[in-house]
Structure formats: C-alpha cells, structure tokens
C-alpha cells in the first residue's frame, strides 16, 4: 500500500511502498501519475497497466495496454487521451464519449504530452513522433521529425514553456549531446545540438524559474551534470561532477529547486542545487549538501512534484520530497547528508544546427 497523506510534511511519513503480490505475474517496471485523476499508474514488463488511487487501492482491473505484450516505458495524457509507449508500439486511447484507439508500430523510449495537446515520443534513431489526436477519427497521421537517419538519437524529450507561451523541446541525444528546438506543432524549426567528446546524455529535466523558464539540467551516463539557464540558446552550459557519484546514471529529476539523480547504485538527492544555480551561485566551486541513499532501482518518476517514485525490482517506493526542511525528510533522516564538493569540468563544446525533415506516417 502506498497511502499518501494529502497533507504530508515529511515528518513521520514512512518509507512508503506498493507491492503487487496479489496480481499474478505483474512484474512492475514503470510508475507514474494516474493519467486522469489523483493516483498512480503502474506498468508491467508484459505490457499491463494498473491504476490506483493515492492510497494504492486499485481502480478497476489490470488492463493489457500493449498489444505486443512489451514492457511499458511511458504513459502520458492530455484531456480525454492517454498514450502508452513500449519498445514495440505507441498507442493512443480516447476514453471520452468518442472512444478511439490508435496504434503506431514503432518502438519508443517513452512518451510525453505537451500543454498544447501534442503527444511526443522519442523513437531513438527514427526521430521524434508527434501527434495531436482527434477523437472519433479512426485513421490519423503522425509526423516524424528527424534531421536525417543517424544524425540524432531521440532518447528523452521534455517540453518547456517559453515566456511568450510558446513551447520549447529539450532532448537527451545520447552521444550527440543535448538538443533543443522551438515547437509549434506543424511548423519546422532548427534543432540545436551541443556536445563534447565522450559525453553521453541519458536524461534531461526542466528546472524552470520565472526568470529562467527554459532552464534545464541534464545528466551523462557517467553522472556528469549539465546545467543550463536557457536550453535553446546556451551553447556553453555549466558542467560538473561529484566524484562520489557511483554507477551508471538512469534518471535525473527536479522538483522544488532540488535535483534527484538515480544511478545503478544509489539515489542522490542534491538539495537546492538547481535553485542555487539559477541564483547564479558558484555551484561548481562550493560544497553542496547531498544525501546518498543506496538502492537498486529500475526507474524513477515524480508525482505532483511532492513525491519521488522509485521502481524497485519487486515494488514501488514513494518518497516525500515536498515542503519541509531537507533533513526532515524520512528518506534522508536515516542517512547522512554529506557536503560534497563538485569538480568543475571544462570541455570544448561543439554545436551544430540541424534541420529536421518531417515525414508522415499512418496510424490507426
């Protein structure tokens, strides 16, 4: 049972967990928010979804959501639509009055939804899939945005909100680095990429503030942190590394000015690091409070910016990260908060402007 207190303040909140013992063969590999209401969504390695309320109580039956039975790696929603991604297909379901199901037989590393109503799925070397679905239309076309085969590998994508209300996409492009482009739906815009030799960007997250709406943090597979105040225009972001970070980086998440780095060996809670960076403090030169929580997690996600969900080999844990002093968090109180001094990395960044091609593909 997860059982989240709605007014949780960290104090007394235990190390919450959700197990799936009562569901035959439910091998959890993904966790996130319920697509339509407060609660959770859990995905399994055989392509099934379980929706629960915030107490962990199942809402309906487990649903087979991947026709191929592949592992769920992303769930996103917009209005009445929910999209589910696996390495074999991306599906779109309208649960409103005009029920519609669309399926696209290309593997994805995940899926997100933008505020403007587009679903975006990073397809690795095949590009970025975009779709603004229409209820009731059985056959629709998706757009695939790709500079050209092999020039960019679309591994993760996030959507940022520009001051003028427009949308900017930021990408983790693996060894091609960090990418960013304006996104206006049907129009084409250049894709800016920055990288340096040896960099392998595996995740990117938004760290926006009113004075830096396009700020992002990204992480390399070796734990290198990349901090940028403007993903679209900054060609020389701050690059740093904590030598104490061990293991291969899996996820980088941000909430409330903190950064949460999940690696193959531990969860690193870097308190206030994003906030201090945005406040122009010399983050590469001063020690930072970092809690190290050893764990072997599969994946991680945020829930409403107040809970950090970690997918463990057999269960899902929820860690309260909401308001409150950092040393009052239950996940941290049992661990030592260390003062770690980062190493500033000085790399010769290269940049390139790519001009994506757009191709259409049928989906239905």
């Amino acid at each position: 049972m997860i059982g989240l207190p709605r007014d949780g303040n960290g104090a007394g909140v235990p190390f919450l967990r959700k197990r799936f013992d009562g569901i035959e063969g439910f091998d959890v590999c993904w966790a996130g928010s319920h697509p339509f209401e407060p609660g959770f969504c859990f995905g399994s390695t055989d392509g099934r979804l379980l929706l629960t309320d915030e107490t962990g109580q199942a809402l309906g039956d487990v649903v087979k959501s991947s026709a191929s039975g592949e592992a769920i790696n992303g769930v996103a929603s917009w209005q009445d639509w929910v999209s589910i991604s696996t390495r074999a297909e991306v599906t779109f379901d309208c649960v409103g009055p005009r029920k519609t199901r669309l399926m696209f037989d290309v593997g994805s590393h995940g899926v997100i939804a933008t505020k403007s109503g587009y679903f975006l799925a990073p397809l690795g070397p095949s590009g970025l899939m975009t779709l603004k679905p229409q209820a009731g239309a059985p056959n629709q076309a998706v757009d695939i945005i790709n500079p050209s085969a092999g020039q960019a590998y679309f591994y993760r994508v996030i959507c940022l909100r520009a001051p003028d209300g427009g949308e900017v996409l930021a990408f983790a492009h693996r060894t091609s680095g960090l990418g960013a482009m304006l996104f206006t739906g049907s129009e084409d815009h250049p894709l800016n990429e920055i990288s340096y030799a040896g960099l392998d960007v595996i995740d990117v997250c938004a760290v926006p503030r009113a004075d830096a709406p396009l700020a992002v943090a990204a992480v390399g597979k070796d734990g290198t942190l990349i901090l940028s105040r403007d993903a679209l225009h900054d060609k020389h972001p701050v690059t740093m590394r904590f030598e104490q970070v061990q293991g291969a980086a899996y996820r980088l998440l941000s909430a409330r000015g903190h950064l949460f780095l999940l690696t193959s060996q531990a969860l690193y809670l870097m308190f206030g690091l994003a906030e201090r960076f945005l406040s122009r403090e010399p983050v590469t030169k001063s020690p930072a409070p970092v809690a190290v929580v050893p764990m072997e997690a599969v994946d991680a996600n945020l829930y409403q910016d107040e809970w950090l969900l970690t997918v463990m080999p057999d269960e899902v844990h929820a860690h309260f990260i909401g308001e409150g002093r950092q040393d009052n968090l239950e996940i941290v109180r049992r661990k030592e908060i260390r003062s770690l001094t980062p190493t500033a990395l000085s790399h010769s960044w290269s940049e390139q402007e790519l001009h994506p091609n757009r191709t259409g593909a049928g989906v239905g």
Partner: protein, 147 residues
C-alpha cells in the same frame, strides 16, 4: 584486427572452440557490431564461456552473454554501448563467434537499433535465473535501456 584469431582454450561445458572475427573487431563495415577495445580477448571469451556454461540460449540455439565489472555492474561490451552479446549457433566442427547486440546507443546505425534484434524475453529470464543479471538489470535491458 586484420584476420580471424582462435582462442587457445575451449568452453568448459561444451568444449566449443571460439574465434575472434576480424569483422567484429574493426575489420568489417561501419554497420558491423564491434567489440569494445576495452574488452580483452579473455573477457570476450568469458562472455561466451559463461553463456555456454549456463546454456543461455534462444529457440534456435544461439547463445547470449554478459560481462560484469568489479563494481557489480554490467560492462559495455560493444562500441555502441551494447551490454549483451549474441553468439550465432555454429555448425558442427566450426568455431563459434559472437558480437555485442543489445541495447545500442546512437552510435549504432538505425538498422542495428531495431526491436527485432533484441534477444527474446526468455533469454533475459534465463540470465536472471542463473544470476548473470539481476532482476533490475533484466527490466532495464528489456525496456531497451542500459543497465
């Protein structure tokens, strides 16, 4: 590596011979999967030997293996970040060979990132059962992510 080379010993279980092929050590085309220069010959052979020892095979008899590092993680075997190697079933009397296959990063040509190249679910389950990979690593590799 300009020419194929044989490993001096045979696998401990099946007494298979193993050949380091030039094709998968930089002597082939750009689209050929290659072993990482950081993986020694003995390391490469140990991936095959353990795959044979534990009979990590698919329906066609092809073997699959991994290599653990000193920090209990999985090593990258290939130049595209692959962490699982595949060994096509060799005919009787012919040495086996292999190459890194899964999962790949953006260095791989698009045809090498195809989902169809991923080993079957049963292969991952066999690896977990004998302790070659952890439950966590199985789930990540199965999703196409590095472990």
């Amino acid at each position: 590596m300009a020419t194929d080379e044989m490993h001096p010993t045979r696998t401990q279980r099946s007494q298979h011979e193993y050949m380091f092929t030039a094709k998968h050590h930089g002597g082939g085309s750009r689209s050929d999967a290659c072993w990482s220069p950081q993986v020694t010959r003995d390391g490469e052979f140990s991936v095959f030997d353990l795959a044979d020892l534990h009979s990590i095979a698919d329906d066609g008899g092809w073997l699959y293996g991994v290599l653990r590092d000193s920090n209990h993680g999985l090593r990258d075997l290939g130049t595209w970040g692959q962490q699982i190697a595949e060994f096509p079933k060799a005919n009787e009397g012919v040495p086996w060979h292999g190459f890194p296959i899964w999962a790949v990063n953006n260095e791989a040509p698009p045809n090498r990132a195809a989902e169809t190249l991923r080993p079957s679910k049963e292969v991952f389950q066999q690896m977990e059962k004998v302790g070659l990979i952890t439950r966590r690593e199985r789930k990540r590799l199965y999703k196409g992510d590095h472990a």
